[in-house]
Structure formats: structure tokens, C-alpha cells
């Protein structure tokens, strides 16, 4: 406690250099948190959007039977086969027997919802305008379990759709392009012929590619339109821990003999972009913290030189080498704790202010303001990085201070 009190007095007696050290840490910590809150905010929002739109897992094409060769025939007639990897193997398009797949999926408690979807291409025709679209035939009650479609509806209601077998839910950009509103009639051209649909709702996922191409109709209507009684489907699956999707995909793929793609694999390009941005900003801000650390090292190195005589006196009074180290380490700790505390307050205020900045984004997701992620881990990471830099910045001078030989210093001072 005595060492802490001395450290405190030394810190408050050197206001300017300590303030500069403190400012470096405050700036570094707050900047780190704010940049991470932004980049991870956009990333998290993007993930929520794509999970809500396309689910965590998609089961699609069936593998061709795995190619196997006879590896060995024993004397007793037992045969061993070598089965080749599915890497590069061929697929049969679509899910072969959806009902069997669905039954098999019931054995997986980690699945939150399973939606069978039949996909196909068609043209929407209003009589005045036509547009190519991707139709998704869904069982609405299943699809709501595996998607965020209900919350994506911006006009009309899900009830309109569920009560109308010929209802259609349009992507927002399609409705704009074709000038359609709730209750309007529209023709679906292609497949087995024409189908007359009524606009039940309009959704906006925020993903422009989906909003301008996708429509939802009832599964049974889609089957009839596309002329397939079964097959050609995909399954969209929501799971309770989306970050475990890749492992589950491998497991499902091997047991169902169908291609299963996790959201991480499906959105790898964008996720890599976000990852690169996050790392880039983390490296940039860590450099700021490193510079703060170097500044602090400088301050403490000078402090040790300035305090050499006092160190010698303290040693002559009975302070041990460890006590001397402790005095300097406490000074670093005081500046570090104050820096992290003030930096975190600035970071929280800055993050809040940034979240208020208007910013219209349509493309990979839809937002009208900066998206930020309030994550305690950002504060912990910033604190850890600051701790490492400050620890090094103070430990080296503290060690040097502890090694000072009092007799030599006193002799040289006289």
C-alpha cells in the first residue's frame, strides 16, 4: 500500500507527461472499441439478415452414389471396399425424397425450423410490364420457423398470404419495378402455363439481389405450376447456434447423402470482407495503442532517470528492489486503469453517437443509420491490448529502476 501511495504521489506530481500517457491510452482504447463496434456491427447485421432470409443451413442436391472400388478380398470371402471422397463428386439436382429427409431431420434437436422450398424461374406479368423472377414455393408455417420473413414484411400481412392459396409475397424491388400493391393481380408465366396470383404482402430483406428477384408462393401452388409432384426442392434450416453450422453441415451431409451448405460457406466472400475490415481496423488501432505504449515507455524511462536519486534514497531507507519496481508498476497501473475507464466511457459515448448518424445502405443489407455492435468483448480486447503495451512500457523501466545501486548514485550525485 505504501508503494501504491508513493506511486500515486509521483503520478499526480507529473501532470503533463502522465496526462499525455493517459490521453494515448484513452484515445487508443476508445478508438479500438468504436471501430470494432462499427465493423462488427455491420457484420453482425449482415449475418442476421442472411440468416433471417436464407437460413443457417440449406440442403440441396443429392450426391450421385459414391464411387467405390474393391480394395481387398480376404481368404474367407470378406470384401473390403474403398470409397472415394465426395470432393468433386456429381449431384442430382434438388432433394430427391423430401419427406424422408424431413423425417431424418427430426432426429436433430439443434434444428429450430425446417422449411421445404421448391425453387424455380418464371416471369411475372402485370399486363404492362414483365419481370423475370425466382419463385420460392413454401409452406408458410414452416418457413416462418426457419426465416425472419414475418418481420421482413413491409406491406400487407402474413395472414393475407396464409388465407389465400393463390397469394404471392413479392420482393420490395419487384413491387416497385412492376408498380404492384397489395391486392393487385399478377400473372406468373412459365412452367406448365400461366398462374393468376394476388399480391398478399411485400417483403424487404435488405439484400437487393433477393428483393428484386424473389417471390414467395404456396408450396402446393408452386409444385403444380412447376409440374413436379415432389423433388427439386431445397430445405432451409434454422438452428439454435448458427456458429456451429459448418460442423452440423458436415454431419448432415454424410448422413443424408445430400449436399448441405452452411451460411458461413455460402456467404464466405462477404464474411471474408468483413473479417479483413475488422482485422485491418484492429491492426490500425493496435498501432495507435502501440504508439501510446511507446510514448508511455518514454515517459517512464525519463521518470526513472529523474527519480534515480530518490530511488537511491528509498533504498537507503530500507525499500527493497521489489518495492522500487512496485512503485513504477503501480504508476503504470494507475495510468492504465484510468485510461481504460475513461477510454471505455468515451468509447460507449462515441459508439452511441455514431449509431445516430444517418446512413442509407441498400445492397447486402438494409439500414438507414450506422449499425453498431454493443459487445463487451471489444472493451475486454481493448483493455487487454492496452494492458500488454503498458505492462511492457512500465516493466522495463521498473526493472531498470530496481537495479539501481544506491551507493553509486549517491556518490555520483555528490
Amino acid at each position: 500500500m505504501l508503494c501504491f501511495k508513493l506511486a500515486w504521489r509521483f503520478v499526480i506530481a507529473r501532470k503533463r507527461p502522465m496526462f499525455l500517457s493517459l490521453a494515448g491510452i484513452v484515445f487508443g482504447v476508445s478508438f479500438f472499441v468504436v471501430t470494432q463496434a462499427q465493423t462488427s456491427g455491420f457484420e453482425k447485421f449482415f449475418i442476421q439478415t442472411i440468416l433471417g432470409t436464407n437460413g443457417a443451413l440449406r440442403i440441396s442436391d443429392r450426391f450421385q452414389d459414391t464411387y467405390g472400388t474393391v480394395e481387398q478380398v480376404d481368404d474367407d470371402g470378406d470384401t473390403r471396399f474403398l470409397f472415394h471422397s465426395r470432393e468433386g463428386s456429381l449431384y442430382h439436382e434438388g432433394v430427391d425424397q423430401p419427406s424422408l429427409i424431413r423425417d431424418a431431420l427430426d432426429d436433430y434437436p439443434e434444428l429450430l425450423g425446417v422449411s421445404e422450398i421448391i425453387e424455380g424461374s418464371a416471369v411475372l406479368d402485370t399486363g404492362f410490364r414483365r419481370k423475370s423472377i425466382v419463385l420460392n414455393g413454401i409452406r408458410w408455417e414452416d418457413h416462418l420457423q426457419s426465416s425472419d420473413l414475418n418481420n421482413q414484411i413491409i406491406q400487407g400481412t402474413m395472414n393475407n398470404f396464409s388465407s389465400d392459396q393463390m397469394g404471392v409475397i413479392l420482393g420490395s424491388r419487384i413491387s416497385q419495378r412492376l408498380g404492384l400493391k397489395i391486392g393487385d393481380r399478377v400473372s406468373l408465366v412459365g412452367g406448365t402455363g400461366n398462374l393468376h396470383l394476388r399480391v398478399s404482402a411485400i417483403f424487404e430483406s435488405g439484400v437487393s439481389q433477393i428483393d428484386k428477384n424473389r417471390i414467395y408462393i404456396h408450396l402446393i401452388t408452386a409444385r403444380s405450376f412447376l409440374g413436379s409432384s415432389s423433388g427439386g426442392s431445397v430445405f432451409q434450416i434454422a438452428i439454435n447456434e448458427p456458429e456451429h453450422a459448418p460442423g452440423l453441415a458436415v454431419q448432415l451431409q454424410s448422413s443424408l447423402n445430400h449436399r448441405v451448405v452452411s451460411w458461413q460457406e455460402r456467404e464466405r466472400v462477404w464474411l471474408d470482407v468483413f473479417k479483413a475490415l475488422r482485422f485491418s481496423s484492429a491492426i490500425t488501432v493496435s498501432c495507435i495503442l502501440l504508439l501510446s505504449g511507446l510514448g508511455m515507455f518514454n515517459v517512464f524511462a525519463i521518470l526513472v532517470i529523474e527519480k534515480t536519486r530518490d530511488i537511491a534514497i528509498l533504498r537507503s531507507m530500507g525499500f527493497s528492489r521489489m518495492d522500487i519496481s512496485a512503485i513504477f508498476l503501480w504508476q503504470g497501473t494507475i495510468v492504465l486503469v484510468a485510461g481504460i475507464t475513461i477510454g471505455s466511457l468515451f468509447a460507449a459515448s462515441g459508439t452511441y453517437l455514431i449509431s445516430m448518424i444517418p446512413l442509407r445502405i441498400r445492397g447486402i443489407f438494409s439500414t438507414d443509420s450506422f449499425v453498431v455492435n454493443w459487445d463487451l468483448n471489444h472493451y475486454l480486447w481493448a483493455s487487454c491490448i492496452a494492458f500488454v503495451f503498458v505492462a511492457v512500457a512500465t516493466w522495463i523501466p521498473a526493472r531498470r529502476a530496481a537495479r539501481i545501486e544506491p551507493a553509486k548514485i549517491i556518490r555520483e550525485t555528490l
Binding site: D310, I313, L314, F319, R321, I410, R411
Partner: protein, 234 residues
Amino acid sequence: MDCSQKNKMMPNGSMRVENLFHSFSEANGTVKVLNGVSLEAKPGEITSIAGPSGCGKSTLLYLMGLLDRPDSGKVFMGDLEVQNLEDDERTKARNHFIGFVFQFHFLIKELTAIENIRLPLLKQGKDEYSANQKANELLSELGLESKAQRPAYKLSGGEQQRVAIARALANSPKYLLADEPTGNLDSSNSEGVFELLDRMAKQTGLSVILVTHNEKLADLSHRKYWMEDGRIVI
């Protein structure tokens, strides 16, 4: 240092050095500073060590005060031979049995007068209250009670040196090692400091070892050594 250790190490009696040798390594080679110095400083007395600059007086004092290690020879505190103690033990011995006063007072400028005096007591593990009480006693003994809360750097030279003496006496040492304590003071302040040390020695049985250039002060000491070229000559 707990009580049992302290009692075990409690030195009683004179401080003695026997046949001390010490040298420094420098760029040009080794410089011999002490060449077989022996002396004794008795309790309740002021022992002065005088001599020209560079004769090894201060080095001898630092060896006696366990701030440095001799090349050879022995240092005794009472019956205890202390020159080979481990670093930790030397640190504890300085805290419990030795007080230092230097020419340039060496107060910690960030602290007030009373805080400087309390330092060795708090380091010994005394609580704030008893440390304050002892520090106040010393301040009033030295006529500085009104300066207790004044920052060290705002005191005059004489006042600073008296605070430094109070700090050296705070832990009730057995030995007070003073390196030119009056070297930076005018004659009246110098005499005042000497009288103070003499009084403390008589009152408490303290053994004062005084390194000085001031022959007048050296003459006033109970025991006087004269050094030249690293040797005691008188």
C-alpha cells in the same frame, strides 16, 4: 522482518570495520579506494571521519551502511558480522538499524516534510497514526512543527537538512551515518545540526558516524579519524 528475526539480528554496541578494502572498476582500470581501513564507532558518541576529497570517506560510510559491499574486510554491528548479508537482509537492516543523512538532504520533493519523515516508519509496517505521532515528535524536537505539511521543496536549506535528520532518526536507528550533513549549510546552521546530532547521540545511545570536511566539527566529536589515500592515518 518479524520480531523474532529482528531480535535475532538486533545489533548491540559499536559499529566496527576491520581491514576494509574496496576498489572501483573504471575505464582506465581498477581504482583502489580503501586500503585496509579499521575503525570503531561507539554508542552515544559522535565519531567523525575527516580527510581530503577523494580519500574514501564516503565510500567507507556506504560500506558501513550496507549500501555497498567491500572487496574484503569485515563490518560489524555489535557482534554481528554484516558485510556478507543477502540483499534482502541488508535492506531490512538499513530499515531497522541505520539512518542516513546526506549532504544534499535528498528529500522526496513530491512529499511534505512529515510525509518524508514517516516513510521509513511506514516501511517498517507502522500504522499511519503511530507514524504520524513519531514524525510530529521529531518535527517538534527539531523546531519544525509549523512546517509539517509544507512540501519538501518549499523548505529552506537548513530546514530541509533538519527534516532529513528527522527522517534518518524516525526508525530509531542504532547507527546514524551522516555524509557531510553540514556541507551545504552556513556555519550557524552547521553548528545547530552538530548540536542536534550530539544531543540525539547522548539521549538515545545512538552511534553517529559523521563524515566531514569541517575540521572544527571533527574536533568537537568524541572520536576522530583522519583519512588519506584510503587509509586511516590518525
